[in-house]
């Protein structure tokens, strides 16, 4: 049972972003983001640069995964949707695929029903895209950049010598 590998070509990301843009406009949302439950943003639309995107993705995914685990333990089956209501802004989560969620950020002037309707419409399309980009980790190609980064860390390990055992 290997972990998975997601390969997003530039064209894939453009397609995902186009779908997110359409959803954002139709639903009247502020921002939308497609997040892998391991904590990585796959694509997003209009997420503010004031937000730390890496942290945002880690928190959104763990938040959803925690609630999913809770519902599993309660015997709730088919858990898919989660909703956070804030004072002015709300967050709406919907599951796209096993390990992927779509999160919509919208203002309270907007109706939840509208967000829900158009999110549902986008999910099937997005699920297809995510599935097409996902492979077993065993099929991941050799990535020279990844090797270079690992080599860099190996170099760090030899140059940082806080004292030998």
């Amino acid at each position: 049972m290997p972990a998975k590998y997601v390969e997003l070509k530039t064209a894939d990301v453009e397609l995902m972003e186009a779908e997110l843009r359409t959803l954002c406009a139709r639903a009247g949302a502020e921002a939308v983001v497609l997040v892998d439950l391991s904590g990585v943003i796959l694509a997003s639309h209009r997420v503010s640069d004031k937000i730390d995107h890496l942290l945002f993705a880690a928190l959104l995914s763990s938040n959803f995964a925690a609630t999913e685990e809770l519902s599993r333990r309660l015997g709730v089956t088919g858990f898919r949707i989660m909703y956070h209501e804030g004072k002015r802004q709300n967050l709406y989560f919907d599951k796209v695929a096993d390990d992927t969620i779509l999160v919509v950020l919208f203002r309270d002037s907007n109706a939840l029903g509208r967000v829900r309707l158009f999110t549902e419409k986008s999910i099937a399309e997005l699920a297809k895209m995510v599935t097409a980009a996902t492979r077993p980790a065993a099929e991941a190609p050799i990535l020279p950049q990844a090797h270079a980064a690992a080599a860099y860390l190996a170099q760090m390990a030899t140059s940082i010598q806080p004292g030998k055992l």
Binding site: Y5, V13, D52, L55, A65, D99, I142, L165
Partner: protein, 191 residues
């Protein structure tokens, strides 16, 4: 789950530090955070209790910028070691590309180490992964203390797969980057 995004020129791997309570997982991440230059680490998220026991998890993104403006990121997480935070541990293990098992070398901690390892195996299965094949590195921490368990014995009891292991004094940074480099080698397939 490794993600290669050609549009943003990023490659991301997820690594979880697992091990019994107080073995030094958060300390590993803190040393990495304090040592790497600011452009190579993101914000360090620590979700803990008043007494610094990890409650949910810690998160530290390590970013290695390369010449061709590619970025390779290692998202480091720690799980809460205390036995009753089982649900948090599981969500951290979701989609991991590699695991660092941090053992506590103190003479009286063998049972906790073994219990934690058993939980790791079970939790990996629960999130659809397999302990037998997950990229894994062992770290034997707290080697500075008196009455530590000999490394051979820790290996015999805990390292049944015979993966690479490192002695460490995480509080002083000893062995921390060796461990990080070893798991980075595994998840990227470099070694």
């Amino acid at each position: 789950m490794a993600v290669h995004n050609a549009a943003t020129r990023e490659i991301v791997y997820k690594v979880a530090y697992h091990g019994p309570g107080m073995c030094g997982k958060t300390t590993n991440l803190r040393f990495i955070y304090n040592t790497l230059p600011g452009r190579q680490v993101g914000n360090f998220l620590v979700l803990d209790t008043a007494v610094e026991r990890t409650l949910y998890y810690d998160f530290l993104p390590v970013v290695i910028p390369l010449d061709d403006d590619y970025k390779v990121r290692f998202h480091l997480y720690t799980v809460p070691g205390q036995a009753y935070y089982d649900a948090s541990r599981k969500l951290v293990l979701r989609g991991v590309d590699g695991v660092v098992f941090v053992a506590d070398s103190r003479g009286d901690r063998m049972a906790e180490n073994e219990e934690s390892l058993a939980m790791l195996k079970r939790d990996l299965t629960d999130v659809g992964l397999d302990y037998a094949t997950v990229p894994l590195i062992m770290q034997y921490n707290k080697r500075d203390l008196a009455n530590v368990i000999p490394a051979d014995l820790l290996t015999e009891k805990l390292n049944e797969r015979g993966v690479r292991s490192f002695g460490a004094v995480a509080r002083d940074g000893v062995g921390v980057f060796e461990t990080l480099s070893a798991i980075a080698d595994l998840v990227t397939g470099r070694n």
